[in-house]
């Protein structure tokens, strides 16, 4: 392909965008709107997943060591746990003094009721806090922990772990279903908009064919036009998403100060890449598939 031909295709692609202003505007708006709807829903799903992940991190197994063991023996149990059980993500040894201190902190102003039970009179025992890779194996892991010599007992809140598991799977199923549905609807609307834009020019395509234009020659300006419309729609959608998400973050953080939504800066790159990819594919594919119909004769 010669340089002046490439330049011609680009010039024609850009010209097409402006020459068919209304259909271009419709295509860009539809792409941006679809991306905004899908993007907003996906970002909400990301935040819900993050909350669930935080809850999971807070739900740890408490392993209490037999009180007859010395400090050194209690510490050696950690190695045994790590060696015996694969499902351990994080294991933290907490001496009974630290456990008492933590308990006192939890009690806050009522912490003084613990006065006089320090040192030898400390009723607590050395312990481990364990976070699992796979929370669904919690019951099984506790049974195995209790089988390790020197472990007095292991405990965790099954209600919380089961709630996390079921909520997460529901959120995932709902998010995936809705995202796929929205994707299908978006592709349908966008391809129809592009089809409308191309249909508008079927006579022009017919004339091109009569004067001996090759299929590639006819197709390239449309591909470039679709590419430009897709990218413009993606860019518009991205900035709208940025603005909407930032406003939502400010609102939620104002209403529920304890809940921090993921800042947009953390998600910006992935959102930009996904939006650009979507805009590119929908714009180019939409034009290519539609124009193919008019090139058949």
């Amino acid at each position: 392909m010669k340089r002046y031909e490439v330049m011609y295709f680009f010039r024609e692609g850009i010209r097409g965008v402006f020459l068919h202003g209304f259909t271009s505007f419709a295509a860009v708006s539809v792409i941006a709107a679809c991306l905004l709807i899908m993007g907003s829903f996906s970002l909400i799903a990301v935040n819900i997943d993050r909350i669930i992940e935080e809850l999971r991190n807070q739900n740890k197994i408490l392993v209490v060591v037999n009180e007859s063991l010395s400090r050194a023996e209690a510490q050696s149990i950690g190695t045994r746990i790590n060696r015996t059980i694969d499902n351990i993500e994080e294991l933290e040894f907490i001496p009974k003094e630290t456990a008492l201190e933590n308990y006192r902190e939890q009690l806050g102003e009522q912490g003084n009721i613990l006065e006089g039970i320090e040192d030898e009179r400390n009723p607590l025992r050395d312990r481990y806090l364990i976070q699992l890779h796979d929370v669904s194996l919690m019951r099984e892991t506790i049974e195995r922990l209790e089988g390790i010599a020197g472990v007095e007992f292991a405990a965790a809140s099954f209600e919380v772990s089961e709630f996390i598991l079921s909520t997460r799977s529901i959120v995932k199923a709902v998010s995936y279903t809705l995202i796929i549905m929205l994707l299908g609807v978006s592709v349908f609307i966008i391809s129809n908009t592009v089809k409308l834009a191309t249909f508008d020019r079927r006579e022009e395509i017919g004339i091109m064919r009569v004067v001996g234009a090759t299929y590639a020659f006819i197709r390239w300006p449309f591909v470039i036009e679709g590419f430009l419309l897709g990218l413009t729609g993606a860019a518009l959608g991205f900035f709208l998403q940025w603005s909407v998400y930032s406003s939502l973050t400010r609102m939620v953080n104002g209403l529920i100060p304890s809940f921090n939504m993921s800042p947009f800066d953390d998600l910006m790159i992935i959102v930009l890449l996904l939006f650009t990819g979507f805009g590119f594919v929908v714009g180019v594919l939409g034009s290519v598939l539609t124009i193919r119909k008019f090139l058949r004769v």
Binding site: Y4, I207, M208, R209, V210, V211, G212, T214, F217
Partner: protein, 226 residues
Amino acid sequence: MVRLIDVYKQYDNGTKALRGITARIDDGEFVFLVGPSGSGKSTIIKLLTSELRPTEGKVLVNGFNVGIIRRGDIPKLRRTLGVIFQDFRLIEKRSVYENVAFAMRVVGAPPRDIRVRVPFVLELVGLAHKARRRPFELSGGEQQRVAIARALINNPKLIIADEPTGNLDPARSLEIMTILNKINSLGTTVVTVTHESELVNRFAKRVIAIDGGRVISDRTGGYFAR
């Protein structure tokens, strides 16, 4: 050169448009193709431009066999032709200059050649002063002259004019036919489909009359269709 050898064409709906047409048009000829509506004239034009393939028989146009032409070779065949339609078929959103230049771009002509050739051809058809106008700003006769300029721009071997005067008044029709005659006198083969017996008789060229999908007359010098 155009050769139609025992050509049959039956459409998918069963209509038999051509029933054994045989004709030969040599380089440099001017031929009128005449006949009533539904006689098969448009089908012949569509075969010559490779919009259709024959059901039976052979259609040879400028060295291409339309019956077996590959899809990728159709644009190559069309570049050896200049086609003029009754409804002009100009791109409304482009200027006169752009409509003509477009046909050169299609064949990969460099911009420098386009800048030289387009004004020359527009001058030939008397429209150099309207190069920046859009088709809708022109009269019917002027629009048809733009279509002629577009058909001429790549020096085609054969010009096919499908009812080129169908939308024009008698004076403009004569003007268009005079231009086509002039183009023919410079060596280009011209095939013109028309209903207008007055024009046919006036120019006294070879006339192939078609009716019912068959050639009913092929002679020079007048309108012999029934």
